[in-house]
Symmetry: none
Subunit: 209 residues, 4 copies
């Protein structure tokens, strides 16, 4: 899916000819993101992408074979970060760990981008695989790791199905953003942490407010 995937291990004799201007990739991807955010996936046209990027259409199509593939890379490469367990310092409790990453992966136009990618995933199964890898697996894996850290701290009640619990938060956030109206704000996430995730993991019940 990556554009510059000619890594070709043990092929030091690089092909002749002018090399692709790697900086164009970023310019095109950024133009794509802007246009998706401004006009949505349908409204983002390849001509507009090329024009805003200051390139010809052929340059776009030389790097990405179709609109959906471009969208995929635009969204994936545009993610601020994919958090892993190493990015989240151990704050000493599951709740504060979760609160510390509460704001991750949000942004002004992220939801529209997310939908563009999701739409593309439906069209192309290869794209769907990337989508699944980046957004489903990665996020569930982070949750799972945080839960295991809490387990080692002794926070987790016995008998819990950690795999299942790890999917609850990604599911609820995606549901709010993708299925419901796109309002997974900090308050919602805090409420989810306090009333769903932490109780599920630890067996405790939040104090009445």
């Amino acid at each position: 899916m990556q554009a510059n995937d000619d890594v070709l291990v043990a092929a030091p004799a690089r092909r002749p000819g002018r090399r692709r201007d790697a900086s164009k990739d970023d310019v095109i991807l950024e133009a794509t993101r802007q246009l998706i955010a401004e006009r949505g996936y349908e409204g983002m046209t390849m001509d507009a992408v090329a024009e805003r990027a200051g390139t010809g259409k052929a340059t776009v199509y030389r790097r990405w074979p179709s609109k959906v593939e471009l969208t995929v890379d635009a969204v994936i490469c545009g993610r601020q970060f994919i958090l892993t367990i190493d990015d989240v310092p151990d704050t000493g409790s599951l709740r504060s760990d979760l609160m510390s990453i509460r704001g991750a992966a949000r942004g002004s136009r992220n939801d529209e981008l997310m939908h563009g990618l999701h739409q593309a995933a439906r069209v192309d199964p290869q794209v769907a695989a990337v989508f699944h890898e980046q957004f489903v697996i990665a996020r569930t894996a982070l949750m799972r790791a945080l839960l295991e850290r809490a387990l080692h701290r002794g926070e987790i009640a016995p008998g819990r199905d950690l795999d299942m619990i790890a999917t609850v938060a990604p599911a609820m956030i995606a549901y709010q953003k993708v299925v419901a109206g796109g309002k997974a704000g900090p308050d919602y996430i805090e409420r989810m942490i306090d009333h769903i995730i932490v109780p599920l993991a630890t067996g405790s019940v939040p104090a009445a407010e």
Copy 2:
């Protein structure tokens, strides 16, 4: 959104000319559902709908003003049922109540239809409202009602945020179907009931298997 909304109360003097063939509605809606299931929302073209339905395009557009609206009705009218609390007999426990509706709203092509509708919802806010009403509110409301019934039975532990819990199951199911790969089978749902929903509501932990 309903097609035949020109009933014009107190207009007994019916208009001249040929009357609409009401049976066309169903034919067109079924053609729409088939095509969405076969080719996805993008691949479902209005020409193809008209051709498969054996009608002209004008007949389609006379009844639905756009592709998205047609998609909405195709999916909504195609649903087997929208369950309400009255449709679910009180089985005496939250778990068995939930298990009794485990198979609802599934079907061979339902996921693709769901996605078609979801896509349409992004394009048209009016459609989004219908979508939200039919798929978000309705399902959450059913969960909420089941939880309240369990509360009256005394199953619910104190201090629970029932509104939040009511959204967990719809969120996880939709996530599996729409975001992940579309595999919300009976086993998954049972596992979700036993390890997530019931523990959240009752504070209990499932017996080790």
Copy 3:
């Protein structure tokens, strides 16, 4: 080659559906001729044709399958007339017959159109056939008929190869217009008549000037 070729003898039960707006044909063809005259064949783009004709590109392509075919019809239908022997009154002598048609088939932009058609003929053999029919056969046939009329008058010297002579004038005019610089003016044609065609046919020699 003609656009409206649905003459379909003995098919009185015409198909349903909107009929093609026959007036569009003329509008499109005229736009094509204008653009060829203004910008040449290469400069005449299908987008520009559609825009000037006030139609969509699909309407153009529904009627003509490609740029070359459109060019053919534009030029053929744009010809002022194809003269036949019946159009040329018998003036009593070959020379005055020829002089009476001296100005035929000329016009401000006719040469550029001619070239457009000629170019198209090279690309498509079917087009070449039409071209040959309209511009080679028709013109030679007229010359041949005029020569035979003169033969009946007794103007033609014995032993002449009338078929060969009939091609001389079309060849020389086309040569001047297509191969040389496009200057087959009235003076040139008169000179050709007096020093080439009439001498060839009658065996006479023009009076010294």
Copy 4:
């Protein structure tokens, strides 16, 4: 028009660096001719020329500034010869002089090349000048010279317009090749000589066959 025209008078101190590989010129020109013959002018692409010549496109463009200029040189340099009066031995009669050059400037693919050049001439006036010089002036001049030689022999009847007659043969041959279907074979040329050119010049009529 010539490729190596950078002779830069009074610049004997030639530039440093590698010199152009003169052999490339011929390879490129031959590739051009082949492709024009195979696919026509439109179908002959610069990429294909470079590929078949085994060179890069830059090497082509370093030598010829555009497709039309390349075409010109390809056709001009590809001609077997441009005959002048010095190339045609005096055979003692106009007819035998003409018959001796009957086969000149023909060849398997010459017609397509001719059309390529002609097409290019329409696009670029500078090319048109070269075309006119090489194919119109040169050929008419040869005819004119042959006629004058016949005049000195006493073959030419008085009062003839030799300039006009000199254009008849080039016009008829070009017409056959470019406008009509490309069939100016030896038989046709002999017939033209016997029934058109010689009668026009000498006033005689061919013997009936």
